[in-house]
């Protein structure tokens, strides 16, 4: 706690966080169930290599990215360095797992002789990756490395939060497009419109994705659930010195 007073946790926050985790874990499990029941499971060879793609994206770009956004709301009473490092590490994990998913689909396309990057899903996906990588680099430079002044960090903070939320929303939208694409490539309109079990399961998965996104954004944006100003500013003012020496600049 570093001698800082404990910040009280809003009464309803833990329930919303628990609900978000329930949604997130369910959507990952349901992605696995969809791939297992209707797509033959997962492997790094044969046609099954494609299936690595949706599973990695559900875990990385949806669940872990969403959880990374919540770190400052959930760990309100943890030391700021812990929270900040956890935030960065969750994003690195999300990006790494998503990269495996990206390699899987490009490798699968190459082996099958399919074209790359022709669909709206793929265009949005590449946009997400570029933005996510740039956001991580800029965020790292501003908040974890020395050099950026306190006022520069304060000014960048709002942009960092906005673009973080936007990239997350775009990730959820891209996942919905991908799900729809995978469904229509296999079922076509004819089977899809007969309420085939796979179609219904995928629709429910799509709604779960949207709900997870909605609950994460609710927790993130609810004004009275924001980390109190002083704690937030202290967290943002931590620089490389504080990482190594365990000290932090005082509030403004």
């Amino acid at each position: 706690m570093e001698g800082r007073a404990t910040v009280s946790t809003p009464a309803a926050l833990p329930y919303y966080v628990a609900f978000s985790q329930l949604l997130g874990l369910t959507l990952v499990a349901m992605t696995g169930a969809w791939l297992g029941l209707y797509r033959g499971g997962i492997a790094w060879e044969s046609d099954l290599q494609f299936n690595v793609h949706p599973l990695c994206m559900a875990i990385g770009l949806i669940f872990l990215q969403g959880d990374a956004l919540l770190v400052y709301r959930v760990f309100r009473n943890e030391a700021k360095r812990t929270t900040k490092v956890l935030h960065g590490m969750l994003h690195v994990s999300a990006l790494t797992i998503a990269l495996v998913g990206l390699v899987a689909v490009f490798d699968y396309h190459r082996k099958k002789g399919y074209a790359d990057l022709y669909s709206l899903h793929s265009w949005c996906g590449i946009l997400v990756f570029v933005l996510y990588f740039v956001q991580w680099l800029v965020g790292f430079s501003f908040f974890l490395f020395p050099g950026a002044s306190f006022s520069l960090r304060s000014r960048y903070r709002a942009s960092h939060i906005f673009f973080g939320a936007t990239i997350f929303i775009l990730s959820v939208g891209t996942a919905l497009l991908g799900l729809k694409e995978a469904l229509l490539f296999k079922l076509g309109r004819a089977k899809y419109s007969l309420f085939e079990p796979e179609g219904v399961l995928a629709n429910v998965l799509g709604l779960l994705l949207a709900c997870f996104g909605g609950v994460v954004l609710y927790i993130l944006t609810r004004p009275d659930w924001k980390r109190p100003s002083q704690a937030e500013e202290q967290a943002l003012s931590m620089d490389f010195k504080t990482l190594t020496e365990g000290d932090s600049p005082g509030s403004q």
Copy 2:
């Protein structure tokens, strides 16, 4: 101005608003171009009736709904009653035009003997309609009708803004799913992956939709572009009395 001091407009705001309008008008025009060039145009009969659906949704649920969200940011110096009534009227227009689009697609399905509500796009679409209608009713009851106390309005305000933004995001996501669906029903994977002109145009339209959503949310959420607290509270405190008598309760 009702004797209220003029609130200064942030220097960059007009440029962002102009950019959002450029994006919005371009996406509506491009939807028209897509339907005209590749889908035979628009009519309330034959197969062309379907085309009423995407055009109405682009105008109503995307462009007008987006603009309705921006009213409090754009008209910072207008009388609060004007701003509030404009906000409500834009939403009514958006909902009405979207309803025409909804009737068009159900009527088209009925005539062609197609199933209804089997796809993720349709599930999300119905969700958007229900949420949008409820949000409008609750918003109207709290902010334009007498009865709700000042404190009740203040407490509801954050939820109104969050759900407004969420419904808008869900509308954009649903439009992307619909665009993808219309594309894959016609082109299939084979033609889509050959970078057919219609596919490329629809992809660009999809990116435009996402960009319009992003710019609207940026303008809406940028902290220093919020309507100043006093003006905002006055706007929210307007009740039926102020609508009819041209008076408003003092700020708290």
